[in-house]
Point group: C2
């Protein structure tokens, strides 16, 4: 799927505006203006506002897959059947730490807003985002947790644990306004990201260790 220059600009602008104000609240004129294009270009290239919205979802899914890729590669060995619990634990910590680094970057904010809207009010775009962007990471987390917990936990409990672990990271993106107000920080730069990562690592380590011991006992 090769995009022309104008299509790329329209998608970038639309992700920003759809994310900030929601699909219904954004005018096609505002998107076109922000992209330096004519409103009718949206009709021509995407068939209308809804087509542009779905194109945004596909773009975001592809971008997320790219960002996850290194983390998934690095942890693939640890999820294999012949690896031990210690390796799996290290892989989980690495995934969440890496995920935190991705999510704290400023340029993730636009896509995150878009995704959260779909979470709370799913449209056909949600399927694209879930299968393209979230499924792979969740599945890897599942595999790693299973290497630690064995078969003692039912599958839905594994998934809930995976979501709770990821949720710690997500909160710093979703509840950004509260984070800034509660800490007094002006923004989340490198120093703040390191603090967050350190705490995510400590929490994850504690949780996974407990899971390991809980299963052994």
């Amino acid at each position: 799927m090769q995009l022309s220059a104008i299509e790329a600009r329209l998608i970038e602008a639309a992700i920003e505006l759809f994310g900030r104000d929601g699909m219904d609240a954004v005018g096609t004129r505002a998107i076109a203006d922000a992209a330096g294009a004519q409103m009718s270009a949206i009709t021509y290239h995407f068939g209308g506002k809804e087509g542009l919205y779905l194109a945004c979802a596909r773009h975001i899914a592809a971008e997320m897959r790219e960002r996850w890729a290194p983390l998934l590669e690095r942890t693939s060995a640890a999820s294999a059947a012949d690896s031990g619990a210690a390796e799996a634990r290290a892989a989980i910590v690495a995934m969440l730490s890496g995920f935190a680094a991705i999510m704290m970057k400023d340029d993730t904010a636009r896509t995150a807003r878009f995704i959260v809207r779909e979470q709370m009010n799913p449209s056909p775009a949600f399927k694209i985002l879930f299968e393209g962007a979230m499924q792979p990471g969740l599945q890897r987390m599942d595999e790693l947790l299973q290497r630690i917990a064995g078969r003692r936990l039912p599958p839905d409990q594994l998934r809930v644990r995976a979501l709770a672990l990821l949720g710690q990271v997500l909160a710093f993106r979703f509840a950004r306004a509260t984070l800034l107000r509660a800490t007094g920080w002006e923004s989340v730069g490198e120093a703040e990201t390191r603090i967050i990562q350190g705490i995510i690592v400590a929490h994850t380590h504690a949780i996974v260790s407990e899971l390991e011991q809980g299963v052994h006992s």
Copy 2:
């Protein structure tokens, strides 16, 4: 601040619609219809759409304060200066477990959507929500964590830890679509809430224990 019947109906309808579609995407006519009122009633009672929006924020803040109140009362003794780490740990677990119970209820969905919008795109309403609804709970979490960590952690680290703990719970509310898809659940009823609470309790216990030991060592 006593509300007339029509004001109450308008606020209820507006929270639902503003939460689902966002302030800009909802028409005053749609709100009025849902409330069984005339559009001009919004102008008359709230001065306009924005006034209604702020009234929604105040209403939500008051409702949240009410829901938090029992948890804050029950944990106030444990946050006092003469209580021990074990009491504080139990209080933290109780707070998060209770918070999970509140957040999993279906009728929290509307207000949660409204709040998440303000998180990602703060308007003047955010201050109302933060100070009225979030500040008290966060502060109590802070106090309890401090009883455990002593003075070894700088204040912003305490707050980040508090947010990470709360984030686990929040994720199940604002990533609801992912939760349902990842688990295959059809809804989050009592049985599912118990599973989530159990995992929150286990995770919280692990995190707080680690914090306790980390400080002692």
